[in-house]
Amino acid sequence: MFGYILKRVLATIPVMVIVAIFVFLLLRLTPGDPAAILAGDAATPAQLERIRDRLGLNDPLHVQFVTWAGQILRGDLGTSLISNTSVSGMIADRLGPTLNLAVMTIVISVLLAVPMGVIAAWRHRTWVDFLVMSFSVLGFSVPVFVIGYILIQIFAIELRWVPVQGYKPPADGIGPFLARAILPALTLATIYVALIARMTRASMLEVLGEDYIRTARAKGVRENVVLFRHALRNAAVPILTIIGTGFALLISGVVVTESVFNIPGIGRLTVDAILARDYPVIQAMILLTAGIYVVVNLAVDISYSLFDPRIRY
């Protein structure tokens, strides 16, 4: 087990290196000039040139890369070119909201989607199944921001149940946190629910056809036990996988949701950084999200063995 984890962790190194090189090159090929953002509209070319020099943007690419890589290896994410604050500080400030939102979304999604999928599979080709599948296809087909606006319109503007926007950390009280996080989480969850419900259904359908389900029924086991004790655990691996890979989808949803609900999270940070060509921030953020993605999927892989004793590392 430990050996396996070690091996997997080591295997992420080349992935992260490729990500780093790729992102670095991509960014430097992209037009845009952080110096110009810094200096504003009225700056003259000569002034810009001097600022670029100061920021080290005029160094040859490989020098810039080596400098940056060296910093990263020392655990230093650098300093924002625009706001001149430490990137790790910026990320630390903004990781919380996104993580809380993501966790809440995943919890909501799993709690909703798994039972939905199970029931759809159980009542395959009935109206329940149809309803669940329609909902989940719908979840895929409406852009996130539209869902966000609709939820705001209904729950914040018409009903006034929750605030329109904003974020409060759970430390400020769980009530205020939930009031602000529930709509964004639901928004994000629609697509995730759709994804998980669909996979749960497909996986359950496969499992429900297996011999051991028939065995369980032949033993006179109650139907809910058949579904949740016998079938669901066997169906878990693909569901976990989709939760892991769906994480990528979550990230793109987060970017939009954070805009719509004005949540100070890392999605917005990254988009802003890209639009401002704040290279150190972008590089750090993409490395970080890639890292989180890799870790989440590693965790998912490892958790397989919790559900399926045949998988041993």
Binding site: V15, F22, S141, F145, G209, I251, S252, I282, V294
Partner: protein, 295 residues
Amino acid sequence: MAKASPSRQSAFHVLTGLFSLPAGARLGIGPTIAAAILLGIVAASVCAPLYVPYDPLAMDSLSRLRPPSDAHLLGTDQYGRDIFSRVMTGGRVSLLIGVGAALVSVGLGLAIGLVAGFFRAADGLIMRIMDSLMAIPAILLAIALVALNGPSLGSVIIAITIPEVPRVVRLVRSVVLTAREEPYVEAAIALGSSMPKILIQHLMPNTLAPLIVQGTYICASAILIEAILSFLGAGVSTEIPTWGNIMAEGRSYFQIKPGMIFWPGLLLSLCILAINLLGDTARDLLDPRLKKREG
């Protein structure tokens, strides 16, 4: 993939196969309706230039944000452009993006996946690169790519394609890895068929069914991602109307003029719904268990 190995043709496996596959008659009308809707939208979009009343780019700053009227079926947007004309014309480009992204990702993914699946030597490197591409958040990659190339149609398609390719590669590779263990592939080796021949004639057709399904999903999600990119200001230029950028442009007017989001949104959702449904149907129909049942 069906786990049931056909070597155990116990009744129950036959049963389960039958259980989850829709025999022709049991497909229901869902897919038929879906196909009809999709065809309708495609036809309406492709023929849009023939019947829309206005040039979708023609502005009229004096009749901005008009409500629906006889002159403007769905009203006008903030440039005074006719929403109906834009929405109908926008469908062309959105669909083009969907189909384009699907074709490009499937094509690239297929080629890379076949190579990775069959040539052990290349596999490691290719899969590491694919893993990296998957790990980079698609939307951020897309924004960066669009910034790099400018928000042209081509760069939006490429931006949507790049994150999809690794998924297709994984799919193709896994199909190839499974299929190359099939006895008929071993038989082909025994018959002296060369590797390229086996790859193309025996293995590639296996990837077709899952790729069709995957392709429909990519198509649907590409249309959606285009909308999100537009929302973030990194989509196709507003000079080329798409459902996505019409909605993105209309987002500030959501409360005042919901039509700007509603109509393109409706068509987009219907389209994606139909494509997904057809994809699901295709998956059911192309289910390998079907083939075995017929034996």
